[in-house]
């Protein structure tokens, strides 16, 4: 059995990157995720796997380094928190438009603006609905433990390369700063140049005489060309929606009421479910693991047995909109949220639930 090590979620991101055979990390420090780059710098993977770790001069620079690295078919990533991700928004749209695989980690803190360094989930819209301009989507994974942080780096790269699209790990200050035990997997080798040339025929790796040059761009001045590109992207997103939904459930078998929550709040809701059950309420939890694609069908499948649904978030109410789209008005959809870095306790969520069904 692999050794279990106590570490922060942020440290787990760093180990996940090294162990999955990532080629490069480019980042700029910001609380509450600075341990990602700190751990990479301590581990010095450039001496072992050859992975590049570079502190850029800004977030804008980081994301454009990711763009450059991704063009060559390398597994490259960055991490930041909320306001730093806002600075990357243009780059995210370009990466999606140019169909470049990469991993972006957002360890969310409270906003808007400079906000607070405490945990938040108020970047859901930014991650799932856009952030940058244009019709694009990113695959968005929501870890709920340090182990998830470790595992999702490799998973993020796998999905990103499978669909040639950016993947985001949408975490928060609780998961980033909390220490839990993490089981590290085997060290996977970085891909060789020959493997990249074979697996990524689109990559810019030097043109041999027997093929046309690869061009990576998000520019198409002729509208029919751009529309054809948009149609291709939309077909890809449809396939992702059909094939890549991930979610988990807790005590939903006989549930009459459903909590929907992701990330750290899903953990807190599990305890709230237990408290509600002790008090005689049949409550269950659905935790979306992918926020895009969203487990719409999975929520719909539970509807016949449900009397109410409550979304719980550390935001003013963002994911709840996707819950409402899934529920289509068939049962009441309630919401409980905290903002500004405040974290709801299990008791608080239970009390909000009782109030919501008795109003």
């Amino acid at each position: 059995m692999a050794e279990k090590i106590l570490m922060k979620g942020n440290e787990a991101i760093a180990y996940g990157a090294i162990r999955c055979g990532a080629d490069g990390y480019f980042g700029y420090p910001i609380t509450p995720q600075s341990e990602v780059m700190e751990t990479l710098m301590e581990e010095k993977p450039w001496e072992t796997t050859g992975m590049v770790v570079l502190q850029a001069e800004s977030e804008t620079s980081s994301i454009n380094m990711v763009y450059g690295g991704a063009c060559t078919g390398k597994k490259v990533m960055t991490s930041s928190s909320s306001l730093g991700i806002s600075l990357m928004a243009e780059g995210l749209s370009y990466l999606a438009g140019a169909e470049l695989p990469c991993v972006i980690v957002n360890v969310m803190r409270g906003g808007p603006g400079l906000g607070t360094i405490q945990p938040s989930q108020a970047d859901y819209f930014q991650a799932v609905k856009g952030g940058g301009h244009g019709d694009y989507k990113m695959i968005v994974l929501a870890p709920a433990s340090a182990q998830d942080m470790y595992d999702f780096v490799g998973l993020g790269f796998d999905l990103a390369f499978k669909y040639r699209t950016p993947a985001m790990i949408l975490s928060d200050g609780v998961i980033g700063q909390m220490m839990e035990k993490v089981e590290l997997g085997e060290q996977k080798p970085r891909r060789t140049d020959a493997e990249i040339a074979e697996q990524c025929p689109w990559a810019v790796v030097g043109k041999p005489a027997d093929r046309k040059r690869n061009v990576i761009t998000s520019l198409a001045l002729e509208s029919p060309v751009q529309e054809a590109h948009n149609i291709k992207l939309q077909a890809k997103y449809k396939e992702i929606e059909e094939k890549e939904v991930l979610y988990s459930t807790y005590r939903t078998e006989d549930a009459e009421h459903l909590f929907v929550a992701y990330g750290s709040i899903a953990r807190i809701c599990e305890t709230a479910v237990d408290i509600a059950r002790e008090n005689g309420y049949k409550v269950g939890l659905l935790r979306p693991i992918t926020l895009y694609p969203y487990p719409t069908k999975q929520i719909q499948e539970l509807l016949p047995q449900l009397k109410s649904v409550m979304a719980v978030e550390m935001s003013a109410g963002q994911m709840v909109e996707d819950v409402r789209l899934a529920v289509e008005g068939k049962v009441p959809v309630n919401f409980h949220g905290r903002m500004g870095g405040m974290i709801p306790s299990p008791d608080e969520i239970y009390e909000a639930f009782v109030k919501s069904i008795n109003k």
């Binding site: 279990k4 106590l6 609380t31 509450p32 607070t116 360094i117 405490q118 200050g173 609780v174 700063q177 909390m178 220490m179 839990e180 035990k181 750290s264 953990r267 807190i268 599990e270 305890t271 709230a272 237990d274 870095g341 974290i343 709801p344 306790s345 299990p346 008791d347 608080e348």
Partner: protein
């Protein structure tokens, strides 16, 4: 077994590292653990606290509003956490610097003169291990053997020669604990 505790005091008292050693000790005997620190403005001067959960089963919420045990090392933390101990729970505190002593009658209360004892040992850094000893005397949720293994894991190798001193400090804490309120 499930133990939900908060350790709260000033930054620099070793609050976070005490929690980390306890969490690592739990891992050494196969427990599930979470360690959730305050990482806000507090850690940049002022109070620091960490929530540690040790459990035989999977841990859901790492965020709590009530605790089985509160280990309190300054007045601000006493004001904040005394009322958050579950009825029947345990409060351990160092009276050094405490101006308002705990008043609850529905919880077990103990004091440990850790600051004084660490000065007597000639090693102020032993403070947090003395406190840990006091806690383990009341609630032996992890064995001494696991703590030593936990220390080895959480201390860099260059500090491993300090482990016997830490063990001694834990024993001092176990010895010098004083019951204030016993249910």
């Amino acid at each position: 077994m499930k133990e939900e505790l908060i350790i709260a005091g000033f930054g620099g008292q070793g609050v976070l590292s005490m929690g980390k050693i306890l969490a690592y000790s739990g891992i050494m005997q196969g427990q599930e653990v979470t360690w959730m620190p305050s990482y806000g403005p507090e850690m940049r001067g002022g109070t620091a606290n960490v929530t540690v959960i040790l459990s035989d089963n999977k841990i859901s919420s790492p965020i709590l509003s009530k605790y089985d045990t509160a280990i309190i090392l300054n007045q601000q933390s006493m004001d904040k956490f005394e009322n958050l101990v579950k009825p029947g729970g345990l409060l351990i505190y160092d009276p050094n610097g405490i101006t308002r002593h705990p008043e609850r009658k529905d919880i077990n209360i103990c004091s440990i003169e850790a600051a004084e004892e660490s000065a007597r040992m000639g090693n102020l850094k032993a403070f947090n291990m003395i406190v840990l000893g006091a806690f383990l005397q009341k609630k032996p949720v992890v064995s001494m053997e696991s703590v030593v293994k936990g220390l080895k894991k959480s201390l860099p190798e260059r500090h491993h020669h300090l482990i016997p001193m830490n063990e001694e400090a834990i024993k001092v804490g176990m010895d010098k604990l004083v019951d204030i309120n016993v249910l």
